[in-house]
Symmetry: C4
Subunit: 220 residues, 4 copies
């Protein structure tokens, strides 16, 4: 490095950073969100003998907890697979990753709202909660799109041996995410809240199935 | 890697991942659950001079905190020892590990319910709480069974030098867990809640004693 | 090492530590603060049909959450860039880093107070909240100043190739922080709370723009 | 390893583990406790114009937060320095470390109780809170004693070059901790609560000053 700057005066760190610290930070964020979810499961305060009823009445919390945990696990698996492609992190990848973490950190909020709405049983509230969930989940796919497009254009950020074709084949994944999450919000609002939720679950399964990345169908 | 795919077009990352990130994520989850437990210990709000009584009245919270901390520590020690066997993580190990973390993240909830039931003193509530605890703890052993059986069948995922016999000798550990946790639930519900809790404590001691893995009794 | 101390009796670890554990600890702290912010976003408890109104009424929480997340992300990016300069951590750097983390951990508190004050709409409360924010944010820059000045005087703590000029060029950044945060508090108290908040947002943008470090304008 | 067990059947992992995962887990626990402390600082809910009074009335929370943060930071610095001596972790070190983390995780609880007692102003409550604090802090030194004594007897667990004399010189540190914390509880209960608190602050300063380890006074 000193060789780059013979004066040895103004030389700073090189522009590209090692991804390990970004990964460790992201891992910690995912681990914390996943674990904070349990704070919504609380020992019920009831009159003597009322424990069973009190526990059973909280079923939407258990469902919301399970769905959130699975969703965040799937996100983490996707993130894990993503960083197996990346050798260097530049400022744009760093910011896109922070945007991705922002969307992930938010998830417990619309999930809890969805659980509260379905526990309440009011159809208008359910439509509002489904729309809120779609509004939160749709932008989550944007940083993924930014990252994959950036990796297509900058092979120098990739782990050696990761081909252009493979990276390009990942681009449709976040696009499908944006379109389908948006659609699920529209369906949930105009047609049926349950249909909206069903589309969310479908999206989580889709993200789980493609978490290790997709290969192109035609021969390389 | 480029050598594997001369076209350099569609090549993605290799299928098997380094376990270090899975470990770091799991460590963070364990560290967070263990630490969140303290949120259930709160400075009591009392009338002047009532601090001592208020503190003493909260004894079931202290007991629940201590048992949960020990249990989660034992789980972490087991996890720590497990990952000393694993050199590569495939998708099935990753999912089984997430299922394991799910069961661990849940633990504070049945523990707090157990404390609340015994503080309340209603026998029916205690039976419900013991059953809930058994229901939560029994499935915790399933991912351990899946992982050990998977490692038996896939020596290529193991650290070099870890023998078949050693891995096979670990399989009965989660089976004992499933049977005894189930039994403790049945005992707690039909015979006596205190007996159920005693069986839980016994199970934690068993898991502590075998956390470093067991060796086969007969000669290799 | 034994060679340094032929008696082999009193030799302890060398005085300078590897920065990786300090970094990992700091990363975890940043990850946790950023994630804990979501605890202030709660599913609203309302009468049936009141979900939308209840959600909309909470807008200052969303704004406070977003600003805090961005601010802490920017701090983490700055910290990330800082540790790319550091090869060894001595006791003073360790303490300065802990002071830095202290100021970062505090941030959610003045931010939430600011949100509460603007939601309440009382002008005196807004002035108090802006002053509290400035009081919390101004000392945050002090450990940065201590660290950069310490790195100027101790090249042996720096990664090889990081020049004196580069490190010296970073010193004005925390000085600007101290002056402008102090100014924003004065403006917010004596002139207008909104002007104070605007200056805070400006400061976050300034820290974001300079997170990768600044280069000297004149030629090295 | 396969060489140790020609049959390749029953060979398990070697008994001594790498300390890096134990360190990472401990770091995460320290980072989380330190950060959770901020949850006790909450934006006050007051009538319009009452923000300043409400903020000022919470001064014991700010003091408790600051003391807890400094104390846990000092503990982490001590832990950090301890692990620079350790090359291998056996089962006893692992358990002692978990006991150490248990005592650290508990700290926010007696600290908050102390703050509540002094805010309340009842002298009997203050004595109770000081005794609780001493009861919580005294056992914290026990695992440190166990660890240093274990390292004296097992040089093979130490980083090469760490001499017997150096490790033996650390043994009095936790002994002083046990004696003085116990004394502070006795003083706080029988003489004056403020004197007890003063002794705690003294202990934190003592631990801060010796966090990097002590050297023997006489020549090696």
């Amino acid at each position: 490095m000193a060789a780059d700057d013979p004066s040895g005066e103004a030389s700073g760190p090189s522009g590209l950073a090692d991804p390990s610290r970004v990964q460790a930070f992201s891992d910690a964020v995912f681990a914390i969100i996943v674990t904070l979810l349990v704070l919504d499961l609380r020992a019920p305060h009831t009159h003597p003998g009322g424990m069973l009823d009190a526990l059973l009445r909280e079923w939407p919390s258990y469902l919301a907890f399970t769905i959130s945990f699975v969703y965040l696990s799937v996100l983490w698996l996707n993130h894990h697979a993503l960083f197996r492609l990346i050798a260097r992190v530049d400022a744009r990848l760093n910011w896109a990753n922070l945007a991705l973490l922002f969307s992930a950190v938010v998830i417990p909020f619309p999930t809890a709202t969805l659980a509260a709405a379905f526990a309440g049983g009011d159809r208008y509230d359910e439509r509002v909660a489904v729309a809120l969930y779609a509004l939160s989940a749709t932008p989550l796919s944007v940083p993924w799109l930014v990252i994959f497009l950036h990796l297509v254009r900058h092979p120098e950020l990739r782990v050696p041996g990761i081909g252009d074709g493979y990276v390009r084949a990942q681009v449709p994944r976040p696009v499908i995410g944006i379109v389908l999450y948006g659609l699920s919000g529209v369906l949930g609002w105009f047609v049926s809240p349950v249909l909206g939720v069903a589309t969310f679950v479908l999206m989580i399964i889709f993200h789980a199935a493609t978490s290790e990345g997709v290969r192109r169908l035609r021969r390389g």
